[in-house]
Amino acid sequence: MALSRREFLIRTGLAAGGLMAGGLWSRPLVRKAFADIGDRFLVSIFLDGGNDGLNTVVPVANGTSGNFRTSYELLRRTGPGGLRLLESQLSPYAIDNDPNTGTPLALHPGLEALHRLYQLGKVAVIQGCGYPDYNLSHAVSRSIWETASLGGTGSGWLGRYLASRYGASEIPALSVGYWTAAEFRQQTTSVLTAIRLAELEFPLDDWYPDDDAAKKTAFQSLYAAAQSSPQLMLRYVGNSGQATLTATQAYPALNGLYQADRNSWLQQYNGLDSGTARRLREVAKVIYGITQGAANVSARHFALSNGGYDTHSNQGTIGEGAAHYDLHREVGDALEVFYHDLDDMGVADKVLIMVWSEFSRRPQQNDNGTDHGSQGPMFLIGGKINGGVYGNHPNISDPRVLNPGATWDDGNTKYSQDNSYPHRSTDFRDVYGAVLKHWLAIPESEILSSLLVTDSGDPTQYWTVPNFNFVHPGNSNPLFLP
């Protein structure tokens, strides 16, 4: 049943008095929201557990300085349990050189599909992303990335943006998973969370459909009461239940629409038979629904994650069954289908995908895996991305990295934003700032005053990258093409 937006809000009991008076579009915040993101979409993909950056963006040979391949071979050995990727395995997946040392780099062979997108010029590899005094706890470091605050507390960084643009009756974001992605966390607007859109159906008694209306009325009344309770948790459950009911009336239809119009793409996702492919498939359904004008669907921000990167043991090198290889295959293969699906829909230029992890791993391998490390690479993927290698490869030739025991250090690469440091790192908040400024069109002043906290770093330089303007080291064009 097609409902107008107005009917829909009334039916679901979400319409607050003031809200409907002049219609949704008269609300300045909502107008602003649509003006900011326009017809764009954002997808955040979290590699859960700490992705090994050194075996993701790998030195293939020594460059003009740094001796990174030599160091790599000292840090990653061959033989049983060895994690070294050989030059011959890497050379088909070469990417641009490290801008700083000229080191020839390649992607992990498991990322062969991502490499194809790289060759199309749609992938930016941003090396050495982290923050000062990096924390090696999964939970703390992950919270730091999710909240963009070095204390790791507070609302999610995208959550603050959503809360500044959307109200309680809106569902501007979808978390594909069992958990609401913490980068979306806040208490102002609703984030839909689902594994499959088809399952977003409100459960009712099949035997007595004539009682459905009475049940829904009572359900809404109970949840509306909770929404106005002074009890914070009761109110939270009330809001979540109402948003759930709302979603059950709009989202399941996207499933049938996509199935009918884009079945060959559906088969491609299903053929990959992986969690990441299934989750990106659900994102594709929503994006397609929006492009087709589906009623009451407005989620333009998406988050999903892929777990298993905490490879303390049995990390492996290449081939099916090697843990890190399988993880890369899952994500890379799914991203390739997703990108071409978007391209076929005509919206590849409208979608930005950001891939991140809470930290990288120790350059020096252990018996057959790697322990927790510091800075690592991020990926930005999309039609408007100026593909290439940005940022500096972490200095793995540092004596502290090559021989940690002798120096009483933890053996991780040095994170430094010091301008004079030749292997200067990139603050992850520079990347967030660039996304907010260039993709979500948020004014820089607002980013710095309320969305990202300048609790360290030089405010005139915004941590590392001046004014969040990343420039391609080769062609000197901006990271985000106009």
């Binding site: 939970a139 969370t193 409100f202 009761l234 927790h372």
Partner: protein
């Protein structure tokens, strides 16, 4: 201010029974109302830990085995504690890949669930499932693995930061403690954990490179020389117990026992609700430690008792609800087990290991639990599950609503059906009486406001209803059960 001599009214008795078990049956509420908080807590804690070990030939069957046990157990507090410890010492079969080890660990958690916490940690140190999960089995002198050393401090005993926000340890402490755990492995021939001298990191070989086996030179109140964990028993297999002894002497930046505050705070938030920010949380935690003597005795039984007699525990028991104290979200396993216990519904089993509700979508109980965000024996990570708001989102709520719908649709006269005649008087005809009966069965009568109660009455219509008429009963009474199970109040403590 109440204390252990405060007499429990019905509302507080119901709250205690819900928090210390799985739902409050009306008969239990009657039995507990009128007792003092202290007597009631002692009665709940009087069980002798059972030797139960979940059975079955795969992890799915063992999962169901544990759930069935929770539904039938006579001392539900025991299982509430085991669930807490499963979350605390989170271990996942997704990595361990050995369901027998997971079952062994489950029995270990039960054995120690209200025992001595220091002994408990020492036992977890050498639990095979844990040693596999956090890589103690892969920690060799020449290839140290820090995984367990880190989580032992961060998650099991100290926390990254103390209550005041000061760090409790540094990376160097992790590196050194990892040395203590080197050399442990699984002896395949004897099928037990074994210490292997050849793989252990001895100072004679590594001191020049790695420094002395000393920890806490900068944290924990041990002074600049820290503590040497080769003492008092020397180097060798005893190092891991000596490390634990030192951890338990760790003092935070307020000079208090870090372990006692960490565990007391976590148990308080599990059984009651989220603590206020520092320093108010410290006030509550410290008074409970002081009364229980937990920072010297490490006796979990006395600690839990003092939680159950403290005013903090009863703050969210009954309306009017305030804006400052957050209620606590019922865990998925708690919701499911409570529903089955209170409604006396036993899901059906089949030879393939399914355990399902014969109604609605005929869903497997464990599948519903997965959708609610809780797969027993497979916590999302070593951090266990995220609590409170994290349990609640559209995906998990729909799973909760669907499970409620299925249970309410399980109509018939078998033990796997919802049979209201076992729970209430079917001769009631007034909608208000019927609503009161159902909300009493579910233990939420005292949680509803008058208008919320009226919503449920309005759902039944103007009445009178003849519940002995199957058509009326199955449509409206079963519908009312579904609604009450889906109501926000049933998902909050």
């Amino acid at each position: 201010m109440g204390d252990e001599n405060t007499i429990l009214g019905a509302t507080h008795a119901r709250h205690l029974l819900r928090r210390a078990g799985f739902g409050a049956r009306a008969t239990d509420v009657q039995a507990f109302a009128g007792l003092t908080r202290g007597v009631a807590a002692d009665r709940l804690l009087s069980f002798k830990p059972a030797k139960f070990r979940p059975g079955g030939k795969d992890i799915w069957r063992r999962r169901v085995s544990w759930l069935k046990y929770m539904v039938r157990v006579r001392a539900p507090l025991q299982e509430k504690l085991v669930l807490f410890w499963h979350d605390h010492f989170a271990t996942g079969n997704d990595k361990v890949q050995d369901h027998a080890w997971m079952a062994d660990q489950n029995r270990l958690l039960r054995l120690h669930c209200k025992g001595n916490f220091k002994d408990f940690v020492k036992a977890i140190n050498v639990d095979p499932a844990m040693m596999e999960y956090l890589d103690t089995f892969r920690n060799f002198k020449d290839q140290p693995n820090e995984n367990y050393a880190r989580e032992l401090m961060e998650l099991f005993t100290l926390g990254v930061h103390d209550l005041a926000g000061a760090p409790n340890y540094e990376q160097q402490d992790i590196v050194q403690i990892a040395r203590a755990f080197s050399g442990w492995g699984w002896d395949y021939s004897r099928r037990r954990v074994a210490f292997r001298d050849w793989a252990h990191d001895y100072n004679s070989e590594y001191e020049s490179e790695r420094g002395p086996k000393v920890i806490f030179k900068s944290h924990g109140g041990f002074g600049p020389s820290g503590r040497d964990f080769t003492q008092p028993g020397g180097e060798g297999p005893q190092e891991i117990s000596q490390v634990v002894d030192i951890l338990f002497e760790h003092r935070d930046s307020d000079g208090k026992s870090t372990v006692a505050r960490f565990i007391t705070g976590k148990l308080l938030e599990y059984f009651a609700h989220r603590l206020p920010p520092y320093p108010d949380n410290a006030t509550i935690i410290d008074r409970i430690i002081q009364r229980s003597g937990f920072d010297t005795s490490w006796d979990l039984r006395r600690l839990v008792r003092e939680i159950f007699v403290d005013d903090f525990f009863y703050e969210t028991a009954a309306p009017p609800f305030t804006s400052t104290i957050p209620k606590s979200v019922v865990w998925p396993v708690d919701f499911v087990v409570t529903t089955l216990r209170l409604l006396k519904v036993n899901p059906r089993s089949d030879k393939w290991g399914n355990w399902y509700i014969e109604g609605g979508a005929y869903g497997n109980v464990t599948d519903y639990l997965a959708e609610m965000g809780q797969i027993l024996f497979e916590p999302p990570s070593v951090f266990g599950w995220d609590w409170e708001e994290s349990w609640i989102n559209s995906a998990t709520l729909l799973a909760r609503y669907s499970f409620a719908r299925d249970v309410a649709m399980a109509r018939g006269n078998k033990s796997y059906h919802l049979r209201p005649q076992l729970l209430m008087d079917l001769s009631l005809t007034a909608p208000s009486d019927i609503v009161d009966a159902v909300t009493n069965v579910l233990g939420i009568a005292d949680q509803l406001t008058a208008s919320e109660r009226q919503t449920l009455i309005d759902y039944l219509g103007s009445g009178p209803l003849d519940l002995n008429d199957p058509g009326v009963r199955q449509k409206k009474l079963h519908g009312l059960f579904a609604l009450a199970l889906q109501a926000p109040h049933f998902h909050l403590h």
